[in-house]
């Protein structure tokens, strides 16, 4: 619905609203947010993703309750939001806010106590264990804080893993794994094991693994949490590149600085969303930038 109206509607608004237009970026620092709000859902100046439109993820009244030593702990208490295809969003909150639990449920690693998750049109509640496995395999690409690579497998074997479960032939797997590893800059590290790679390189292997089945959503859980600022910068650069190519990226972090690499930040506190805002001054990473903490 927004698709066609976005670019035309935006420019008049911009022009009409102030003398400064969005290309004048720096001066428009403060101008941007009123503009975006005034433009309702029409947030096009920042990204191509916005006009790709379709809801790739819908989370509706999600609740997760744990039983911990006989006491019920409500980790997530009624969270609803949607993510459109091609969006780059951050889910932000302090530790214990329920953001990781939320992400695990979105990634079908954990089952909600109540509420609905719809991924690319599929209601996860209706799926059995094998169908969930298939969904994780085809639609979700995980990037974890602790990388979670298989320690005894080489980079290329690690990247092949999702394709094994997708039933691809070995030649196809090797070819694709090689391509993806080259894309994340690990052309020379194909046959290195995780313990022969730096943290940043390991995380790039993990990103390659997340990408290799061309998933609908990339879920990154504190991807820079275990990295030095330079490696963190590289990882954020890759995520932004993927976003530019049209991938949907959901980033979970507790760091404002990292979160600001996304277009939109959903803040979570005590299992509830406290704010859901566009990022007015997006941080950009290039291949050499560092994340300043």
């Amino acid at each position: 619905m927004v698709n066609n109206s976005n670019p035309p509607s935006n420019s008049p608004l911009t022009k009409g609203g102030t003398s400064s237009s969005s290309p004048l970026a720096k001066g428009g620092d403060n101008m941007n947010s009123p503009l975006a709000k005034g433009g309702d859902n029409m947030n096009s100046p920042l990204a191509k993703g916005g006009d790709r439109g379709v809801n790739i993820l819908e989370v509706d009244e999600l609740v997760k309750t744990y039983k911990l030593d006989g006491v019920n702990v409500e980790a997530v208490r009624g969270i609803s939001f949607t993510v459109k295809s091609g969006e780059f969003i951050s889910i932000m909150g302090p530790s214990g806010s329920g953001k990781s639990t939320l992400m695990h449920m979105i990634g079908c690693l954990d089952v909600p106590t109540s509420g609905r998750i719809i991924i690319d049109g599929e209601e996860t509640k209706d799926l059995n264990e094998n169908q969930l496995a298939k969904l994780r395999n085809q639609k979700i690409g995980f990037v974890f804080q602790t990388f979670n690579l298989l320690p005894r497998a080489t980079a290329i074997r690690n990247v092949e893993l999702p394709m094994i479960y997708a039933g691809l032939s070995i030649s196809e797997r090797t070819k694709r794994a090689r391509e993806v590893l080259e894309r994340v800059g690990l052309k020379d590290r194909l046959n290195h094991r995780p313990n022969q790679l730096s943290g940043g390189q390991q995380q790039r292997v993990a990103i390659a693994r997340a990408l290799v089945n061309d998933p609908a959503i990339i879920l990154a859980d504190e991807p820079t949490g275990n990295l030095d600022s330079k490696s963190g910068g590289e990882v954020m650069f890759i995520l932004q590149e993927l976003h530019k190519e049209g991938k949907t990226v959901i980033l979970v972090t507790h760091e404002q600085y990292v979160a600001e690499h996304a277009e939109r930040i959903v803040r979570v506190l005590d299992g509830k969303i406290v704010s859901d805002e566009k990022v007015t001054d997006r941080r950009k990473s290039d291949n050499n930038s560092e994340i300043v903490k």
């Binding site: 990634g107 264990e129 994780r136 395999n137 995980f142 094994i164 479960y165």
Partner: protein, 397 residues
């Protein structure tokens, strides 16, 4: 995921822990190897002993002192009542027997010149070598009149002949048995080794001579040969009847060669089964070793299982990966065990007189049992691994 991928994963998993995989496999190797080896020894003993009994001749009937029940009976108590009179009586009255003879078995020092040997000394009736199918290759056998007259004549086995006389002429020479001089009148045909005993290291003397030499009035065994195979059963009945008039039923036992063969076969089959059972127990212990290692492996690789599930492994994929890992351990162990057991069995065969026999059934049972052990003891750990909740597995430290 196809089955070849599962195998590849399993091999990678085992390869990563070579020492541990090998030690686990060792349990199965020893188990399967011992099943194969023990069964082959049991089988070998069985075919050896039955072969021995059959080689004695055909249609043989034995009368032993006391009451003997084959296959679980007790050995006789009380004294031996079998005498040469019984032999003569049966020989005279029987319609079905071709020969009836007897022997006394002893071991003694035999001297020729300054050469001394310890040999088996058999006191025999004149027909014993006809009953047992042992021809005389040189000279003559002991005659009935020599038995009747308790003459000091001797027929010697081939080993005795060689040791005492080398390539020289033994006939007519005099050898000393229990301080008595005996004249060599014949040489027995070579019979070879039997149960580690040289059956050519023997001498035969007239049974009457032996009785007076050792102060006996009884015989060790009465043995005879029925006219043909149809005569064996009526002959047994007949002998029981004839001897029953002189002796009580519990003072003697009449048995055919076939009965003895059957009895030995039974005993040895039980022995073989027992040996297989012992091997089976060690195989089971090997299986428990597999289970133990697989459980350790599942715990140790919990995060790996979580990662695999997160990237799309189904429950079935995890299950099959671990089952194949366990099966690979046991089947590989089984194959090595079979080769090892077979190898040792053949070594025994070539180094000793025991003709150990590796049978097809013991190999196939051992193989399938080892595969079964792998599945059986692998299923539980594999099931445990496959049931893990992905997020719990990933969080596992």
């Amino acid at each position: 995921m196809n089955i070849f991928e599962s195998f590849r994963l399993a091999f990678n998993g085992l390869n990563a822990n070579k020492m541990r995989s090998f030690l686990t496999m060792l349990g199965v190797i020893i188990g399967v190897g011992s099943v194969i080896l023990l069964v082959s020894i049991g089988q070998g003993a069985k075919s050896y002993i039955t072969g021995e009994i059959q080689s004695l001749g055909s249609n043989l009937i034995f009368v032993m002192p006391g009451k003997i029940e084959f296959g679980g009976g007790q050995h006789p108590s009380g004294e031996n009542k079998l005498s040469l009179d019984d032999v003569r009586l049966v020989g005279k009255k029987s319609k079905y027997m071709e020969y009836v003879g007897a022997d006394i078995e002893s071991s003694d020092r035999v001297k020729y010149g300054n050469k001394i040997r310890n040999v088996m000394v058999y006191g025999v009736t004149s027909n014993i070598n006809k009953i047992l199918n042992v021809p005389i290759v040189k000279g003559r056998d002991i005659t009935e009149s020599q038995v009747g007259g308790a003459r000091k004549v001797v027929v010697i086995g081939k080993t005795v002949a060689e040791k005492f006389f080398g390539s020289g002429e033994p006939l007519g020479k005099r050898i000393t048995i229990a301080s008595q001089k005996f004249t060599v009148i014949g040489v027995l045909k070579e019979r070879g080794q039997s149960m580690g005993v040289d059956r050519d290291d023997v001498v035969d003397i007239p049974i009457t001579t032996a009785q007076s030499l050792y102060g006996l009035d009884r015989v060790s065994f009465i043995m005879g040969k029925a006219r043909d195979s149809e005569s064996v059963d009526p002959a047994i009945k007949e002998i029981k009847q004839i001897m029953g008039k002189r002796l009580k039923p519990n003072e003697f036992t009449v048995s055919s060669q076939g009965e003895m063969l059957g009895a030995f076969k039974n005993i040895l089959s039980i022995l073989t089964l027992m040996l297989a059972g012992i091997g089976g127990i060690s195989l089971m212990v090997g299986g428990i070793g597999i289970m133990n290692i697989m459980l350790v492996s599942v715990t140790e690789r919990t995060r790996e299982i979580g990662v695999r599930k997160a990237v799309g492994a189904k429950t079935y994929d995890i299950l099959i990966q671990f089952i194949i890992e366990a099966m690979t351990l046991s089947v590989l162990g089984g194959i090595i065990g079979i080769s090892l057991g077979t190898g040792v069995s053949y070594t025994i065969k070539s180094l000793s007189s025991l003709p150990s026999e590796v049978t097809v059934w013991s190999v196939s049972i051992a193989f399938f049992f080892s595969a079964f052990v792998g599945v059986f003891f692998g299923v539980y750990p594999a099931w445990k691994a496959s049931r893990l909740n992905p997020i719990d597995a990933l969080r596992y430290e």
